[in-house]
Amino acid sequence: MADVIVGILAIAGALFVLLAGVGVLRFPDLYARMHAATKATTVGIALVGIAGAIAIDGGTAKIVLAVAVIFVTAPSAAHFIGRAAYRAEGVDIRLDGRDDLGDLGDLLADDAGDG
């Protein structure tokens, strides 16, 4: 029984990773790819992690830690890439709606570092 649960979770997780991969491959611009990559992989690793935590004796804690690390870091990383790409030249970014950040101009430069 446990094997089956582990298998289903693993397949589901792997499926999400595959989805993310397909998204990254198919989506037309960077931000769209990021939407796919960040969310689906995080979910995918969570599911695989649960599977692993069940299946591997004595491995639960480490898997939890690993998944936690991804949960903490993945969105920050996505934010950081997105922000950098926004400024960088040569990145295909399609903003057909509004762009409040662009309206802001260089104002941010002054206090963005004010962490």
Binding site: H35, T42, T60, P75, D96, D114
Partner: protein, 174 residues
Amino acid sequence: MTRLVRLVGLTAAWVALWSDLTVANLLSGLLVAVLIVGAFDTWRPGHVIVRPVAVLKLAGYFVYQLAVASLVVARTVLAPRDRIRSGIVAVPLRGCSDAVVTLIADAITLTPGTLTLEVRRTPLTLYVHALDVRDPAVLQNEIRTLEVLAVKAFGDDDAIAGLAVDDTSVWWSR
């Protein structure tokens, strides 16, 4: 409080890494934690206060959002359609610590269709990329909900008090 949270967290991580809850591991973990906290006392993201019940609420909301996000992504990947209007929206927050802002921003990134691109400190504003910006109010509500849950879970008293202030007009007027 912040320091205690750090110590406990690091000790817990140590014990988890050894995957063996023994006195020796606890003591050595505490030692390591004390050393690290003492050696690198450069924590700047502000006070961290943990309110367990509120944390659980936040977690529940977040997991729900994540699940939705996954389905949304799955749908978009499998049946791509032209996105109507994607764009970047400024979302003002009320005052809270760096840690909580980060939490909110990260959560936004993991929820459907949104991605935090930038934070402005004064006035505290998140710039969020959304796949669909036709109705910013929906976005605002989601983020407002998230903000409230997060501040209640980890914010200090001042931040919670600040939630009462409604300064919607500041950003919505645009």
